[in-house]
Symmetry: C2
Subunit: 396 residues, 2 copies
């Protein structure tokens, strides 16, 4: 067997302004490098308890079942759905982008029937459509919806949906992967039953964990199952016994270093304060969008429903958007995202999430895009984008 | 919402000699703290290719499909089984401890029928039993077996099993969580079709990834499925498109920092050389077992089939084994493991895996156990265990 020649780890230093991962604070990187405790060490179990309290504060919930799933955001999505759904169940899924469609795919893999409410990419779903679907479909186990659709930059209003679902005997599942820690998430006020997120977006932690909270109502539904959960790894009944204080029964080996990092990133979030953090995301996003407008880029998401954590904008007509992204990476070490699915080749997705949401980053990415557009003969006068951004900052 | 008071991360410094996680080399900790690349960054995709080559060398396989699953070892177990099994399939599972039984549980959750070959804990399975079961059961999709049973310390011989399974049209699935990188694993020579491991054992990397390799035969079985894989997150058809060179289609956000760490830990493994590493595990294990024998501890695993990476020994008669483990942690910052299932309260599981397999650790844990036993009036003369270990070292 040949031994592959693998050199020292020396990646380029990138400014991460795509749809995640976002920039990671040095304190979180340092936490990642902390020597390990065992996953059943009494001190590690205390750290888990602390992370649970921190997550409850960030999710704005009193749910005792609030944990970090040992996988990335999609594992949290899968955990929420496979624990609540059984073969033959019906689930209403709002499909307004990649992640809503992914939920529908997983619903099908549970042997459940997905009733998809298709929404044009960039639009949000009118709650009346959900109410109609609930009335029409009869017995529905849950409604699944994405709060912050990472593929379109649209923010779906969630307030009121929990009550609407519960009136019809359905549970509410909400994806907050691109909102938690940057855009208000109100698990208890929403009366949401299963809410999950990822660590590598507005929490500014490396990817690898998925915060998940389940309401008592959701846990009752899990207890009332007639069949075993199809995933052993994500079975919340088993996982709960590891996370529950006083139990701490071995299930699987927790990703210890990732828990360290999440704890530190949540400390940073709570030190800043959620409201201050939301305001910071709004301020920088407004400046970014103003600068992009000066370059001829219009948001994909409908007016009034644009995420502050992630801006999805249409590339100006006639521009090779891929060449712009490659130039940003090659000339400036800046990463932004391209479009997914029907938006591939048509949009940029620029994330200002967590540590990435800073004025210098807004100015850096606008200047770099302007220069890349100039190469294609598609830029306005030099400085137009940065000036527009600074004008927006002056108003706040 | 109350903001929980969470202090600076300052865990005690433990010597990790339990069943995993093992000690992590400073170079791997440093890799964990490296600022992140995006999961679609061209440089990150190169790093993934390097990790795949490293994993092939460590697994001793040419399998193109060789990746790291984004979850801990149990996620790798689940990935292997849910991709190969469909409802109605039959699977023969050797159940000789916790992890064999876990495989049988997952087989059931796939809607497949688990034919369990029960083996007393600590014993290994005679291949003749597998052959008989294959002959008796008719059409069997796969045989699942644990190479290194972490709950008993037994090493199951695997050589020959692939050929035996293939003759009957079955695939061979092997769990190498506690062997890969410390005890010879020979994926191609075994003709094994799906082999997975964990990072936090003999690879001495933090937990969070599960190396997985699938043979072309296994991939054909995946392609021939009539039903979708029940897990979206672990669907190797989708995951393969992200890991395949030339494709790299976004599936989920890879745990970037963990990939950095795995790459560095595999560099260390290959720098040392697999044969030298296996010899090192054997040498320290022999000294540990000799020292434990001087304390009246006998191995749980049958003679000739004892893992060098993990020793599972019976606590001396009349000893409160939990008190000994607590004393090790409190007085010496040393972690060792207790028993699982029927062995709870009866055995210790002492891991000398990867970076943990060092002479000073062997001496430290033996001295500490001796002192803890002395508190219970159950120790021989001071120094007996360490002397026995040094005599064993003198012979090698």
């Amino acid at each position: 067997m040949n031994v592959p020649a693998v050199s020292e780890l020396a990646p380029p230093t990138r400014l991460l302004l795509g749809p995640g991962p976002s920039m990671v604070h040095p304190r979180v990187l340092r936490a990642m490098a902390t020597p390990l405790l065992g996953h059943l060490d009494p001190r590690f179990l205390e750290l888990m308890t602390e992370v649970q309290a921190q997550l409850r504060a960030v999710f704005r919930t009193e749910n005792p079942f609030t944990i970090a799933v040992s996988g990335t955001g999609s594992a949290g999505m899968e955990a929420a759905l496979v624990n609540l759904l059984e073969p033959g169940d019906a689930a209403i899924v709002v499909a307004a982008g990649v992640f809503g469609n992914r939920m529908a795919d997983i619903v099908g893999r549970c042997g459940a029937r997905a009733v998809k409410l298709e929404v044009p990419w960039g639009q949000v779903c009118d709650p009346a459509r959900i109410e109609e679907a609930l009335a029409r479909e009869g017995k529905v186990k849950l409604v699944a919806i994405v709060h912050a659709e990472t593929s379109t930059g649209a923010e779906q209003p969630i307030a009121g949906l929990g009550e609407l679902c519960h009136r019809r005997g359905a549970l509410l599942v909400v994806d907050t992967v691109t909102s938690l820690g940057g855009v208000p998430v109100e698990v208890d006020a929403w009366e949401a039953d299963a809410v999950y997120s990822g660590t590598q977006k507005c929490l500014s932690c490396p990817p690898g964990l998925s915060p998940l909270t389940l309401s008592p109502r959701a846990l009752e539904a899990v207890k009332a199952r007639r069949t075993k959960v199809q995933s052993w790894y994500l079975d919340v009944g088993l996982v709960a016994d590891y996370w529950a204080e006083g139990k701490r029964v071995y299930h699987h080996t927790a990703p210890i270093s990732m828990i360290y990092a999440l704890r530190e990133s949540l400390r940073l979030v709570l030190e800043e304060g959620l409201e201050a953090r939301f305001a910071r995301h709004r301020r920088h996003s407004a400046a970014l969008v103003a600068g992009l407008a000066a370059l001829g880029c219009t948001p994909q998401a409908q007016e009034g429903h644009r995420l502050s954590s992630l801006s999805c904008v249409r590339a100006p007509a006639g521009v090779d958007e891929g060449a712009v992204r490659r130039a940003l990476l090659a000339d400036h070490d800046i990463e932004i995202g391209g479009g997914l699915g029907p938006l591939a080749g048509r949009v940029w997705r620029i994330g200002l999430m967590g540590e990435s949401a800073r004025q210098e980053n807004v100015l850096a990415v606008l200047a770099a895009i302007e220069q890349a557009l100039a190469k294609q003969g598609k830029a306005p006068r030099p400085g137009a984008a940065v000036s527009a951004a600074l004008e927006a900052y002056a108003k706040t």
